[in-house]
Amino acid sequence: MPETLVALYIFVLSCFIGYWVIWGVTPSLHTPLIALTNAISGIVIVGALLVTGLEGVGTTAEIIGFFAVLLASINVFGGFLVTNRMLAMFNKKKK
């Protein structure tokens, strides 16, 4: 199967998973959910790394890649930490 079709299969299956996993989230955690998916969408950092780290990449691409890495990193770090802060609040109540 050509790569594009593989991508399509994976996309379609992931959409079903997305549908079910998100409807399963309990309403009281909807705000943390927003923060967490925000952090997770920082996964574009993988794309940014691939653009920046390529051998013999031109300077323009390298600088563009640098900014992409930077922005995605803000997202990853900021997103996970803020989610953690929020969830810690939910957690301490259980003790």
Binding site: V21, L36, N38, I40, S41, V69, R85
Partner: protein, 467 residues
């Protein structure tokens, strides 16, 4: 750095995808939520390490610099931000994802062009990534500005605005097609600029009050942008994660719209929540309109001897940061044998689950926090309903006035309690801009003032009075 094979990388990516899915599944319950977050972190670390160890990544200078700077900025923001500013933060972070997606697509274009690997399908996918990313970016910037109060929250409406947007969208797609067919850098540039513009013109007309729905919609876009990037890079991890995020945003927007009994179309094209009645002197206004205003003492008088008090927090409690005083108030009342419950409306505040986070922050136990459907039958047996900075979510018009714009939205039956006290600063309406008849009911009294000041006043009085 040690290098791993393409296959090993693919397996690492699969593990990472599984971790992300399990992470979101962790949010099914508060008890497993934090573990979920750790799983997601692990997934991200695995994804990043596997990418760096792959044969495609050769130079690390710019990467390390980017991660270091971005990491510090992100950490500082996350540590400093107040819980009440979450909507803004999320909007800001979305803009970064959008911009990163645009940059990745352009960088990919440059790399592939240098290697002579371009083809129409690839350029089509690149265009999709750039357009979605750019709209996400500029839309999120506007949303951030409106939420932060930097841009007027009023809907900026002008004639022919829908026509303009339609033309912009058509032009964007036109240049994208031209680019995909001819590899023209000029078309690519124009397409990119048009997409940025479209993000502005689409979101500017929407009132500040509707921003939460918009932020969630943009969350969804940021996911689709990541998925589009995955298609261009033939990276399945990006596709999987993009779809997860895309659905998350879409479903949350849907939930918000349903809870407000509106359609997403109405939000995007409607212009709602903008009545903006400018209240003058609160008391004057109240007198004119014939509402009863009360003092803190009056409320205390009824609450301290009550059997059951139900507190209804709303957006005003979030703004005033009154959640900690709520906790103290609860404790004082419980010490007097009063049963205290918090009634949570699904769209109280400005994000889904907003009140739950704030009450959790203040350490209020789960058992005392009750969802709408469960608490509604209890109002009839409550001595006092204390409405703290909530408005639309207790508006009876949603139930019995078919002409009201919020008619059909499910609401909390606060008015059925024996006594109703409402803490707010003025007679200004809430988010929807709709008048609230609850305030004119015989059993309702308004306590004018900031939610935090008033509730602290209550706590002090209770502490003062012997029991």
């Amino acid at each position: 750095m040690m290098e791993i094979s393409v296959n090993a990388q693919a397996i690492a990516y699969l593990v990472s995808a599984i971790l992300f899915i399990l992470a979101l599944k962790g949010l099914t319950h508060p008890a497993s939520a934090q573990r979920g977050n750790y799983l997601a972190m692990a997934g991200m670390v695995i994804a990043i390490v596997a990418t760096l160890m792959g044969s495609e990544v050769r130079s690390y200078g710019f990467i390390l610099a980017g991660v270091a700077v971005g990491g510090v900025i992100g950490t500082v923001i996350a540590m400093r931000i107040q819980m009440t500013a979450m909507p803004q933060l999320v909007a800001a972070l979305h803009s970064f994802v959008g911009m990163a997606a645009v940059l990745v697509a352009i960088g990919t274009f440059l790399n592939k062009q240098a290697d002579g690997l371009l083809n129409s399908v690839l350029m089509g996918e690149l265009s999709a990534g750039i357009i979605i990313g750019a709209i996400t970016f500029s839309g999120s910037v506007i949303a951030f500005g409106k939420l932060q109060g930097m841009i007027s929250g009023r809907p900026v409406k002008f004639k022919g605005q829908h026509l303009l947007n339609a033309l912009l969208a058509i032009a964007t797609i036109g240049f994208a097609v031209h680019f995909a067919l001819t590899e023209s850098t000029v078309s690519l540039t124009i397409m990119t600029l048009l997409a940025f513009t479209l993000g502005f013109t689409l979101i500017i007309p929407i009132g500040g009050a509707d921003m939460p729905v918009i932020v969630s919609m943009l969350n969804s876009y940021s996911g689709w942008a990541a998925a589009a990037t995955g298609f261009t890079l033939q990276n399945n991890l990006l596709i999987i994660v993009g779809a997860l995020v895309g659905f998350s945003g879409a479903i949350l927007s849907l939930i918000m719209c349903r809870a407000m009994n509106r359609s997403i179309f109405n939000v995007v094209f409607g212009g709602f929540g903008t009545a903006g009645v400018e209240g003058d002197s609160a008391a004057d206004d109240a007198m004119q309109k014939g509402v009863k205003s009360a003092a803190i003492e009056d409320a205390i008088y009824w609450m301290e001897d009550a059997n059951k008090v139900i507190i209804i927090p709303g957006y005003g409690m979030a703004v005033a940061q009154a959640q900690h005083s709520m906790k103290e108030l609860m404790e004082q009342l419980e010490a007097r044998g009063v049963e205290v419950k918090f009634a949570i409306h699904p769209v109280a505040g400005r994000m889904p689950g907003h009140m739950n986070v704030l009450l959790a922050e203040a350490d209020i136990p789960y058992e005392n926090v009750v969802e709408m459907d469960e608490i509604n039958p209890e109002f009839a047996t409550a001595d006092v309903a204390l409405v703290v900075g909530a408005n639309d979510v207790v508006n009876p018009a949603a139930k019995d006035d078919p002409t009201s714009p919020i008619y059909g939205m499910p609401v909390l039956d606060a008015g059925k309690a024996h006594h109703v006290f409402v803490i707010k600063r003025s007679m200004r309406p809430g988010y929807s801009g709709v008048e609230n008849r609850l305030y004119y009911q015989d059993n309702t009294s308004l306590i004018f003032g900031d939610a935090k000041d008033v509730s602290e006043g209550m706590v002090n009085q209770l502490k003062g009075s012997a029991h």
